[in-house]
Subunit: 317 residues, 2 copies
């Protein structure tokens, strides 16, 4: 195992050696040199921090951490209807993280990137008291083709991919520490190994999505953000929300870390979008409509309507 920083960096460079037309110079120089290809680029960075997104004082599985860190950053690219192309990782190492663990993490990030059609081309290592991992992803999209949060129009249908609340349920089950059945384990898997809905995002963009956001902080909060950016309101049928099997109602609405895509579509675009997303093995559920005005109204199974508070994670709270 490497014992100095330079030995470790050389081992990492070996892990990340790649032959890819987008990569002129990969890991090992002051910066990577890349040719990301035609079209507009999308840029995003997302971080996982010990005590906030990761358990405090406990070294997580490097494989889970690597896949998750790439997924949460790539999810932002997916929500633009774009494709991840290149990634960088800035790792702050808590004292218990040793070289073997770091190399497993790097390998997992490489594999997670490859699974999304991207390449991990660089990063940074620093020592700190707590573990954190910030991943930057560069994505590509046809010129002018990015789907923003701000394009929703009254009459559009609100759709969501997959299921909501499972990641929150999984975090709760992990914290409780009891025995897990099969459905519990699926929820835990969603918490530890979220997937970025990259192909679904491209399908929604191609089908004519007018606005899109990823559900990272909670459905209600992220829908409120989309509505505010678009200058519209929404009516949501809460009974239609695709609840994960183990998710409680508050976890469905505001659990966060679902990394599903929340999009708006003109009604004629819905059947195609649903078919294209279904062809990827992912459900697409219509959960409401965009309306003129502001704010989100929740409509229950009996037709009762009430404002939906924008519940979800507030990173300042």
């Amino acid at each position: 195992m490497p014992s100095t920083e330079d030995e470790l960096l050389e081992a990492i460079a070996r892990e990340l050696a790649v032959r890819d037309e987008r990569v002129v110079v990969g890991v090992g120089d002051d910066a990577a040199v890349v040719r990301p290809g035609e079209g507009d680029l999308v840029l995003t960075v997302d971080a996982l921090v010990e005590g906030t997104h990761l358990p405090r004082g406990e070294l997580p599985s490097p494989v889970d951490l690597g896949h998750r860190a790439i997924a949460v950053a790539a999810s932002d690219v997916a929500a633009m209807g774009a494709s991840p192309r290149l990634a960088l990782a800035a790792l702050t190492l808590c004292p218990s993280a040793q070289a073997g663990w770091i190399l497993q993490l790097v390998g997992a990030m490489r594999d997670a990137c490859a699974g999304l059609g991207a390449v991990l081309v660089g990063g940074n290592l620093a020592r700190g008291a707590e573990l954190s991992l910030a991943v930057t992803v560069v994505g590509g999209v046809a010129p002018g083709g990015a789907v923003l949060r701000s394009g929703a129009r009254p009459g559009d249908v609100v759709v969501v991919t997959g299921e909501l609340g499972s990641a929150a349920a999984g975090r709760r089950l992990l914290a409780a520490g009891g025995p897990l059945d099969e459905a519990d384990r699926l929820a835990v898997q969603r918490a530890l190994r979220p997937r970025a809905r990259v192909l679904e995002g491209r399908a929604l963009a191609a089908a004519g999505a007018t606005a899109m956001i990823d559900v990272s902080d909670g459905f209600a909060l992220d829908l409120a953000r989309l509505c505010r950016a678009s200058g519209v309101g929404a009516r949501v049928r809460t009974a239609d929300l695709p609840a994960g099997q183990r998710a409680r109602p508050d976890e469905v609405l505001g659990g966060g870390e679902d990394y599903e895509l929340l999009a708006t579509l003109p009604p004629p675009a819905v059947p195609t979008a649903r078919d294209e997303v279904a062809a990827l093995g992912t459900a697409l559920t219509c959960v409401g409509e965009i309306v003129a005005g502001a704010g989100v109204i929740a409509v229950d199974a009996e037709g009762g309507a009430a404002p939906l508070p924008p519940v979800g994670w507030d990173h300042l709270a």
Copy 2:
């Protein structure tokens, strides 16, 4: 002052609003949408972490921190002979960092980017126990024009910009806490507000630099890295190293955080390089030669030669 995350994000978006042909969509959506322009891109990320690069348990000046975080990341772009174009910042907030401080930090990063010809287009906020700031910079360079670490050839002259050891001296003076004279204050300034040698890097690339690296971890260590990447050795005249006025010999050789550029040039290219760098107000000093073989030899003022140990920061140590 903003009291929720979304209010803060909106205040940040206002701070970072920009009209720039490279930015299609800036802060406020899932990702930025950019058109970085022609040529190859260079990608790098660098981080400042509490307790390692920043004093533990003390909230630094947001203006110093913002300028420094951009400079250390942009320095890697400079070392490729490239120009910074776009930046992202991932901020982990210690509990004492409040909205006003965050907005000052963001404003300083915006200003530091503008000073380098770049635009801060996005980022991420997370809470943590310790402060850290990871900055990603996307730079541009003519196709095939990036200057790597690996191009040094026997007979090339080793040059370094500016002065060495001042940042380390400044950190020492800050830690000692006594009264500071004018030269002390200049050293402290180098520690708190390093500058990325972007124009110098472009001038060295244009003059024909065969290899380049930024001196971030220490002159001796970074020269050893350049030599190893190039498969060559070097002889360095230690008496010729441009020592900062307050720098001790160990700080000159291995103090780190100088953010000067260390480059190699064919001898005929040296006069032009020196003139072009001098025109930017920066000294360019010839400190040795590249030789066949491996390792760095230090030659003292009396002509005595001894191996130069690769002293500097080891982030794993």
